[in-house]
């Protein structure tokens, strides 16, 4: 009986890809750390390429599947890595976090997505960092990009059906590895092409465009920039409200207010003269208290009531 190897090729390629990625990062690191004018041009190219690669990976299977869709796909994580690429992970994570506010309620349902948070995170953060925007202004930019990105998703969903037919043909021959390859290899090559290049080009060419645009605005209509910053304070309400659509109901409603007041009391922003604890701890603290409240609530009230009929 021949030794059973379960799709060994797929596993080997995964290992290869991971090694290549690490290698790319190791090589890119010193190159990016170079100073000097000639280095700048190459640096921009390398950075754009890395962002494109990151965007591809966010939709790819290589990071344990979940590391893509629940990981790099999210602007919070994307922003951090873009920050690393641009040499300022703090700023990158801040910008990514702000853009992610709009997508907290993002849900992919039934093969349809309302916007593309990944492109907003990767390309949006990259453009924001290249033009030195602050986190609040970056939100509007990220959102605009996120709306455009759905076209890549729709393309992939349509074209991948071709590979399903290839799989059928391989199945007719009883070719087990062939069926596997029709699932993981060919579609990923296609996905790489339609993800990497648009994203990398958008970052490389777009940085200048965005930078020039911002420059023009600050010379001619500085209030527009102010407007973006104000928008950065208003748009999070949309992201939060979009998530609330699913959970702000029934007996959970009062807890929204409890959370707000609690955060306000420990945050101190509205009380002049009060020294507040670090802002970054507010949500975590509220979450811990919230978990305790949830436990108590469920123990006391039992499970949710829902009508069931046969």
């Amino acid at each position: 009986m021949t030794r059973v190897n379960a799709s060994p090729l797929a596993i080997r390629v995964t290992a290869l890809v991971t090694t290549l990625l690490l290698g790319a990062l190791i090589v890119a690191g010193p190159t990016l750390a170079q100073d000097g004018a000639e280095a700048e041009g190459t640096n921009d190219l390398i950075r754009a390429a890395l962002v494109g690669l990151g965007y591809y990976l966010s939709n790819s299977p290589w990071l344990f599947g979940n590391g893509g869709f629940f990981g790099l796909y999210r602007p919070l994580v994307a922003g951090f890595f873009v920050g690393v690429i641009f040499g300022d992970p703090v700023k990158g994570a801040e910008i990514g976090a702000s853009i992610n506010l709009l997508y907290i309620g993002f849900i992919s349902a039934g093969g349809s997505i309302p916007a593309d948070p990944s492109v907003a995170g990767w390309v949006g953060t990259a453009l924001a960092m290249a033009s030195n925007l602050d986190a609040a202004t970056a939100i509007t930019l990220g959102v605009a990009i996120g709306l455009l990105g759905t076209i890549i998703f729709f393309t992939r969903m349509s074209v991948d059906a071709v590979f399903a037919h290839w799989a059928d043909a391989r199945a007719e021959e009883g070719d087990i590895s062939g069926v596997a390859r029709a699932n993981w290899l060919w579609p990923q090559i296609f996905l790489f092409v339609i993800s990497f290049f648009p994203a990398a080009i958008a970052v490389y060419a777009g940085s200048n465009a965005v930078g020039d645009g911002i420059q023009w605005l600050s010379n001619n209509a500085p209030w527009v920039l102010r407007g973006f910053q104000i928008a950065g304070g208003l748009l999070p309400a949309i992201g939060i409200a979009l998530n609330m659509r699913f959970i702000f109901r029934g007996s959970a409603i009062p807890f929204y207010f409890v959370g707000y007041v609690f955060a306000m009391l420990i945050g101190g922003r509205f009380f002049p003269g009060v020294t507040a604890p670090a802002i970054g701890t507010i949500v975590v603290t509220t979450a811990i208290v919230g978990a305790a409240a949830a436990w108590i609530f469920v123990s006391v009230s039992g499970s949710r009531s829902s009508e069931r009929e046969a």
Partner: protein, 158 residues
């Protein structure tokens, strides 16, 4: 019009799709009309156990389903009707249940089905059923979730 949504989706209640529709159209009851499901105790139980909170779910075969849907048309409580195939929808319509819009949200590809539009495939029988519904005055539209743009069946039927 208390029949808020008459929908064909071969995965019935799945993911957030139905949750989004329920929220959008404010319905509290889902009536599933499907012979195979009604006969399978296990699947029926799973569907009911896994249903979204606050929504009553009923599973009927074609005969009792037709009766129930007829009742619902005059009942003030807003409800959805859910089926796996446009053929069932046609049977309902032929039995006299009037609805002006049929939403087709998803039909998976299979051995007898050819791709129609995005995630909707249809067999010859199903295409015929949709055409017949159109001729009886029911508009057939293709749309997965409420915030997608609806696509008229007529425009993709070649």
């Amino acid at each position: 019009m208390t029949l808020k949504l008459v929908r064909v989706d071969d995965r019935l209640i799945h993911g957030q799709v139905v949750a989004i529709w329920l929220k959008a159209l404010n319905a509290k009851r889902i009536v599933i009309v499907d012979e195979a499901t009604a006969r399978d105790e296990f699947v029926s139980e799973v569907i009911i156990l896994a249903a979204p909170p606050g929504v009553a779910v009923e599973i009927h075969d074609l005969a009792s389903g037709t009766e129930r849907v007829r009742q619902l048309v005059t009942d003030p409580e807003p409800a959805f009707v859910l089926m796996r195939s446009p053929v069932t929808a046609l049977r309902l319509r032929e039995a006299g249940v009037e609805f002006s819009l049929l939403n087709v949200g998803g039909i998976g590809a299979g051995p007898t089905r050819k791709p129609l539009y995005r995630n909707i495939s249809a067999s010859v029988e199903e295409l015929e059923a949709m055409r017949r519904l159109e001729s009886l005055g029911t508009t057939v539209e293709l749309r997965i979730v409420e915030n997608d743009r609806p696509v008229a069946f007529k425009s993709v039927d070649k």
